[in-house]
């Protein structure tokens, strides 16, 4: 669905240049739900704006939804849906009419445009506000309207730029449900987010971007286990013996003993645990408690960049 090579964008503002995106390769297969995770200013929106024909790349090439981005931007536009980071409805337009116009822009007949808008308004619970001015909607209602306007023409490929920013937890999980449903119905989705939990909960695969470069890529689980490994922690009366046994586990690292507590990191800690327990039992080490913590995506980001994503995104 998306195949981008060396996509880059430079901005020139008052003499100095900003390398917003510095040569990213992106591959997205049909039906995938891929997340583009990175802190503020990482270059997520810029990449999306390039892939959706809004910005011309300064270097690189891409095929989006089967059309060449540079040679046939109009073909790309016909085949994709795009929901920008900001809102997209004209403030002076009535909600239903604005969506209907959007459907007409995508080539639907007047009757189809009306029918399709009606369907989606019911599905996204916008019926009550259909006659209001778009500028008067609440943030959550506007966001739902934005998404409706992105999928009126049933695109095979949908771009969502920070879909849940500014929503309360209830509306967020609602929105996630809608996005999952779209994914299940076969739409390929490429979304950006700086929320770890969103990337984790929603995406089959994640690309982590920082300073305009992709620094990691994989499924949330793969990323987490590949980068830092799970944290295994147990309490025992004989920590010294236990630590010796733990050190023999393949891939164990960052082994530390702290009073009665032994901690170490190991890839796929859940699969290592049975073997470890058997070995400890064999050595007559008795355990008081055992815990395995899966790493968070923040651990991933921390390992990759030396900075915490959390500090920046919630600042």
């Amino acid at each position: 669905m998306i195949k981008a090579r060396g996509l880059a964008r430079q901005f020139r503002t008052r003499g100095h240049t900003v390398d917003a995106v510095q040569g990213v390769d992106i591959d997205v297969e049909p039906g995938e739900l891929v997340g583009f995770l990175g802190p503020n200013g990482a270059g997520k929106s810029t990449t999306l704006r390039m892939l959706t024909t809004l910005l011309r790349p300064t270097a690189g090439e891409a095929v989006v939804a089967g059309r060449d981005l540079l040679a046939d931007p109009a073909g790309v536009r016909e085949r994709i849906g795009y929901v920008a980071q900001g809102h997209g409805a004209g403030t002076e337009q009535k909600v239903f009419q604005e969506a209907e116009s959007q459907a007409r822009f995508y080539g639907l007949s007047p009757a189809d445009a009306r029918r399709r808008t009606g369907e989606l308004f019911a599905r996204f619970e916008l019926d009550e506000v259909a006659d209001r001015l778009a500028g008067r909607l609440s943030g959550g209602q506007q966001r739902r309207l934005d998404i409706v306007m992105g999928i009126l023409h049933e695109p095979k490929l949908l771009f969502l730029d920070e879909p849940s920013t500014g929503l309360d937890p209830q509306s967020r999980s609602n929105l996630w449900e809608h996005i999952r449903a779209l994914g299940r119905s076969g739409t390929t989705i490429f979304l950006t987010t700086h929320y770890l939990d969103e990337a984790d909960a929603l995406c089959d695969r994640i690309l982590v971007i920082d300073h305009g470069k992709i620094v990691a890529e994989g499924s949330p689980d793969a990323l987490k286990s590949q980068v830092s490994g799970d944290l295994v922690q147990f309490e025992t009366d004989t920590p010294a013996v236990a630590a010796e046994i733990a050190a023999k586990i393949e891939g164990a690292q960052e082994l530390r003993t702290d009073g009665n507590t032994v901690r170490f990191r190991v890839p796929r800690g859940d699969t290592q645990l049975p073997g470890l327990l058997r070995a400890l039992d064999h050595a007559d080490v008795s355990l008081m408690s055992v815990q395995v913590h899966r790493p968070t995506l923040d651990d991933v980001f921390l390992t990759m960049t030396g900075r915490s994503l959390r500090e920046e995104s919630y600042a």
């Binding site: 900001g86 997209g88 004209g90 009535k94 116009s101 959007q102 822009f105």
Partner: protein
């Protein structure tokens, strides 16, 4: 064409919901008609003065059309439409068409009111005059939207407008005949294409189709419209806005 129609429909909705805005656009020329026109004296002066108001409406009304685009840029609506298959040229032409229609409606209303003051013209001549109005609307509208697209903010757009519209209007000789002033002012006004368009409109409404002003004014109007459209379409089509 279909795209232009769709964009026109969308742009016209807020106007149709609130048609008073058309009358607001008429306020300024009406005030000139009421409070300035009588100063010119003589019954023939209406025949000279009223056609010029068409230019004035184009400059003072249509030139401000770009203000409508700025909230659309800010809200992201323009960007959203730029990602649809709708022709990017239509995003301009649909809007310009809306303002041309507004201008024509205003012209017709204004000419109707003027007859109460003693202005007289045949329907045919007025229709020919409205062709000029269409060209002015296309030119001024396109330029206004393009400037708004480039400047993006009211605080940048407003001073550019007020510093260009006012001199263009004063130097177009729609208020007083320019040949009564000092020579340098007259020369300046001759450089202003709108003064030629004004002369053309006057000649046409008076029925002097053979007059050279019609040709000069016509060429000036067509050229202005073409320049506006070419600049506008180029800016709207360009990938990076």
């Amino acid at each position: 064409m279909r795209d232009t129609w769709l964009v026109l429909q969308r742009t016209a909705r807020p106007t149709l919901r609130n048609p008073v805005v058309i009358v607001f656009g008429l306020m300024q020329p009406l005030l000139f008609l009421l409070l300035f026109g009588p100063l010119l004296g003589g019954s023939g002066s209406w025949q000279w003065f009223v056609p010029g108001l068409i230019i004035q409406m184009g400059l003072f009304g249509t030139a401000y059309a770009g203000f409508g685009l700025i909230p659309e840029i800010r809200s992201g609506a323009l960007e959203r439409m730029r990602v649809t298959p709708v022709s990017r040229v239509a995003l301009l032409t649909g809007r310009v068409l809306h303002d041309v229609v507004m201008l024509i409606v205003q012209c017709v209303l204004l000419l109707a009111v003027s007859t109460a003051f003693g202005f007289r013209a045949s329907i045919g001549h007025v229709l020919a005059g409205l062709v000029f109005a269409v060209l002015i609307g296309v030119s001024v509208g396109s330029v206004s939207y393009t400037l708004a697209l480039k400047l993006k903010h009211e605080y940048a757009f407003a001073p550019v407008l007020s510093s260009t519209v006012m001199p263009l209007m004063l130097l177009s000789g729609v208020l007083l005949p320019m040949n009564q002033g000092p020579h340098w002012l007259y020369v300046l006004s001759r450089i202003n294409p709108f003064s030629h368009v004004a002369d053309g409109v006057r000649a046409v409404i008076a029925g002097n189709f053979g007059s050279s002003s019609v040709l000069t004014g016509g060429i000036a109007a067509v050229a202005l419209a073409a320049i506006g459209l070419v600049w506008g379409t180029r800016s709207f089509v360009r990938a990076n806005a």
